[in-house]
């Protein structure tokens, strides 16, 4: 009896203890969700929080006018209109989504897989790698200052960041997801349900996550990637000691009407956001990329691509739409090797009128590279999340 009751007591205690253990264990594991930092309530650098909890873009170029409000001109010219007015919470939620491989069909790729912060928000590859290690057709463009762009993708087929990311998330060869699966996945992750509820407080907390919320948060984060504080910018704002003699020589070659770089890569963004057929070669064995001809259904745009920004260009080798040139030196040399020299024999392209025979010397090409390197600025680099709301480890994708 004594023994039995002791046993009973012990087993009751044991049960209670294990129950408690279980309770603590389970509450522990649920706490690992709530432990995650709530969304940032501060705007990222380059933005000021206004009374409506919106982040408004602020930069030194707001001292200047912009001819016809196009955001193209000389050293002291205002920028084009930027996408701003997102809340800090939307931006921060977008940051989590951006780095989270849960966004792809099999949890293998995030936006950051091809737009790595430490590679100038590109991937260092001639052309990106898609689902199942499929080699894609074009290079990943940088995302620095992408909030200023009116057209996205090399061929300009998207007019907004939301359109762009939809085409990437749901492309069979890229992230290969589909709307149903993406919504299903995110709605089944409590962390994301909480974060979305925090970022979109105007709706009921219990409501499901919707696609426009995902797109808006990603657009908010991408639009916050601002790079306007390079050595070049210091020069432009009037501090001429920011560039050395060789860099200034390079800048003068860049903007002269011989090299004509600045005619399309126009400051302050270093793109005039137009399309141009420059006739740059494809990597060996690849056919000519028709570029903007396809989305615009326009023969005259065969081989045309959107003029890319040159900010942080030093960080995003290799160069051109399919990564033909490994170095900046090779890329700038392309422009002095003859108008149309790399166009396949059986193609007739309408090469842009600024592509001509500038006869740049080796010395000038070297100076151009010197100058291009002054456009580096990562001072507003966002922080990578330490843990992801999906629980997927962040490290395995940053190869």
């Amino acid at each position: 009896m004594e023994n039995k009751s002791t046993l009973l007591k012990l087993s009751i205690i044991g049960l209670l203890f294990s129950g408690l253990l279980l309770f603590f264990f389970s509450s522990d594991s649920s706490e690992s969700y709530t432990d995650l930092a709530a969304l940032n309530c501060h705007c990222p650098p380059g933005f000021k929080l206004n009374e409506d909890n919106k982040c408004i873009s602020k930069n030194l170029y707001q001292q200047y006018d912009s001819p016809n409000n196009q955001g193209v001109g000389g050293l002291q010219t205002g920028l084009p209109v930027v996408r701003d007015g997102f809340t800090p919470q939307e931006i921060d939620l977008g940051r989590y989504l951006f780095f989270d491989p849960v966004m792809s069909i099999d949890g293998s790729m995030s936006c950051a897989t091809c737009h790595e912060p430490n590679k100038g928000f590109s991937d260092g590859l001639p052309t990106s790698i898609g689902k199942d290690n499929l080699k894609l057709d074009r290079a990943a463009p940088t995302l620095w200052n992408v909030g200023y762009l009116k057209r996205l993708f090399w061929d300009g087929r998207a007019a907004t960041l939301e359109e762009q990311m939809e085409m990437t998330l749901f492309s069979e060869v890229e992230m290969a997801n589909n709307p149903e699966n993406l919504l299903n996945t995110l709605n089944n992750i409590d962390n994301y349900r909480k974060l979305f509820a925090e970022a979109y407080p105007e709706r009921d907390k219990k409501e499901d996550i919707e696609l426009p919320e995902i797109f808006k948060a990603l657009a908010a984060f991408q639009s916050s990637l601002i790079s306007l504080n390079s050595k070049y910018d210091q020069y432009a704002h009037g501090y001429h000691a920011a560039l050395n003699e060789k860099e200034i020589e390079g800048m003068n070659v860049f903007r002269s009407f011989v090299a004509r770089c600045a005619e399309c890569h126009t400051p302050p963004l270093f793109t005039n956001q137009q399309f141009a057929v420059i006739g740059s070669p494809e990597p060996d064995g690849l056919p000519l990329d028709p570029g903007a001809e396809i989305p615009f259904a326009d023969k005259s745009m065969r081989g045309a691509f959107k003029v890319p920004t040159l900010r942080n260009i030093d960080l995003t080798a290799p160069y051109m739409h399919s990564g033909k040139f490994e170095t900046l030196r090779e890329a700038v040399e392309f422009y002095t090797k003859g108008r149309g020299h790399a166009v396949p024999k059986d193609e007739k392209l309408y090469i842009h009128w600024h592509i001509w025979e500038p006869e740049l010397s080796d010395y000038e090409l070297d100076r151009l590279v010197d100058f291009l390197k002054t456009l580096n600025d990562e001072s507003f680099m966002p922080k990578m999340p330490e843990t992801l709301p999906s629980g997927i480890k962040l490290t395995n994708q940053q190869t």
């Binding site: 000389g74 000691a241 009407f257 009128w353």
Partner: protein, 500 residues
């Protein structure tokens, strides 16, 4: 005999003495009489449009910096501050002068026909390259450059005057993205594209220039509010051009007046670079209007242009290879007023020749219009030989004499930001990369800065100019000496009054 000889010698001696005295006593040294350049004058401020009274004039406020033979103009520009005048004396200067400052004036001093000459030796890209506002460049001879004689990238309120420009590559004078500028009394020749090229600009007067032996004489492209007046434009491939080039970021051209110009014998063979827009201009083109709107052609003498006097075309006809859905390609509301036209079209070429042959004509017309466009008018259609003007109605105006200038009545003001705004954009645009109020990023919490420097903005200015690392737990701050003194003080004051 002797006395006659004596008299002659005496006479010569006297003459020599007289000449010597005259030269020394009455002769003037060129340098002491160099006049100040006349500056931008604004007649319209507070007056009606037709007054000639100068209401406002830019004043010289700065130093005069002299550059003599063997010196460097660029070094003078580096030393100059806004408001300064750089005087360049005769000599050959082989350099690319770039001016990334506001309100710098460069004045060549011509002495007894000797010009200060910028010689690019066919190796240097550009003569003058400026980006600042309020730039004045006058009295220079500029030769043998590869790119431009004078090029502006942005820069408002400019004067480019009295320059003699020969064979400077692609363009002679090329302001781009500028507003309110004057290009006058320049002589330009042997330019492989446009001698004077006004690109993506607004409110520009181009007057009293001579341009010849070039591919295009004066070209107004993707620009608005331009007056091209009293120019002598001869022996170019095309004389005066107003057009839209597709694919540029600023996409319109309108309100352009071609008035009182001599557009004569523009029959030069085309030597434009392959692929350039002007390479397709047929020789013998007097005036070309392509896709530009509201162009008025008035009181010009347009003679001896062997293809046509005036050609008016849409983009689809004139430049069919470059589509741009955002460029409207029809020339609308062109107005042809009275012009003297004869001897045009004597030897038409290409498409115009073919089209005229369908009319059983072997000569090109005075005025040729082809393609789209609405609302165009002409004052006296009967006096010219025309093609394609069937839908041109009678002009609704007789002249444009009330328009004295397209320049502005007052200078384009620099965009003014208050100290508060300057402080704000500096704080969020620069400092916020490392500092935030109420939280620690890379650098200290802005609140700590506020607490240390209460009522002491100068203390912040001193620190950010030359930081001293005081805290082991924070990385060293890089000096912010590249900010202007004004911006440094503005941001210091801004930080001290921040509340959230």
């Amino acid at each position: 005999m002797k006395s006659t000889l004596f008299k002659i010698i005496g006479g010569i001696l006297l003459l020599a003495i007289g000449v010597f005295l005259g030269r020394t006593l009455l002769g003037t040294s060129g340098e002491s009489t160099v006049p100040m350049p006349s500056t931008m004058q604004y007649r319209n401020v507070g007056h009606s449009g037709d007054t000639t009274q100068v209401a406002q004039r830019k004043e010289f406020t700065g130093q005069i910096i002299e550059v003599k033979k063997g010196g460097s103009i660029q070094e003078a520009v580096k030393a100059a501050n806004p408001g300064d005048l750089i005087r360049v004396f005769p000599g050959t200067y082989s350099e690319n002068v770039y001016i990334d400052k506001d309100d710098i004036s460069l004045q060549g001093v011509i002495i007894k026909g000797e010009w200060p000459t910028l010689d690019g030796k066919h190796k240097i890209n550009d003569g003058f390259l400026y980006s600042g506002n309020g730039i004045l460049i006058e009295n220079f001879k500029i030769i043998n450059y590869k790119g431009n004689g004078i090029m502006g990238q942005a820069g408002n309120n400019f004067i480019i005057r009295n320059n003699w420009i020969i064979d400077t590559g692609v363009y002679g004078i090329f302001p781009q993205f500028g507003k309110n500028g004057l290009i006058e009394h320049n002589v330009l020749s042997v330019i492989a594209d446009a001698a004077i090229y006004v690109g993506m600009c607004d409110n520009i007067d181009v007057r009293h220039n001579e341009v010849f032996d070039s591919v295009a004489g004066i070209e107004i492209e993707n620009s608005r509010h331009c007056l091209v007046e009293n120019n002598y434009v001869h022996n170019n491939t095309g004389g005066l051009l107003a057009f839209i080039t597709p694919g540029l970021p600023i996409k319109t051209a309108f309100n352009i007046i071609f008035r009182n110009n001599f557009v004569v014998n523009n029959n030069h063979p085309n030597f434009g670079a392959p692929g350039s827009t002007v390479a397709s201009i047929p020789p013998g083109t007097g005036i070309l209007i392509m896709a530009a709107d509201d162009v008025i052609v008035e009181n010009n003498i347009i003679t001896g242009n062997k293809n046509t006097g005036i050609t008016i075309v849409d983009l689809a006809t004139g430049d069919p290879k470059a589509n741009d859905p955002n460029s409207e390609g029809n020339p609308d509301r062109v107005v042809i007023l009275d012009n003297i036209m004869f001897g045009n079209g004597d030897d038409p070429t290409g498409e115009i020749k073919a089209i005229m042959l369908t009319q059983l004509e072997t000569k090109g017309p005075d005025i040729f219009a082809y393609g789209g466009g609405i609302g165009s008018t002409i004052r006296d259609k009967n006096r010219y030989r025309t093609f394609g003007l069937g839908d041109y109605g009678p002009a609704q105006i007789e002249d444009t004499k009330d328009i004295k200038t397209m320049m502005l009545g007052a200078p384009v003001p620099p965009r003014s930001v208050t100290d508060q705004e300057l402080g704000e954009i500096t704080y969020y645009g620069v400092c916020a990369g490392c500092h935030a109020l109420g939280t620690t990023l890379i650098g200290v919490d802005t609140q700590i800065i506020k607490d240390i420097y209460v009522d002491n903005p100068q203390g912040i200015v001193n620190y950010i100019t030359k930081p001293l690392n005081l805290r082991d737990d924070y990385p060293e701050m890089p000096p912010q000496d590249y900010l202007s003194d004004e911006a440094k003080m503005a941001v210091a004051k801004y930080i001290l009054q921040m509340t959230n």
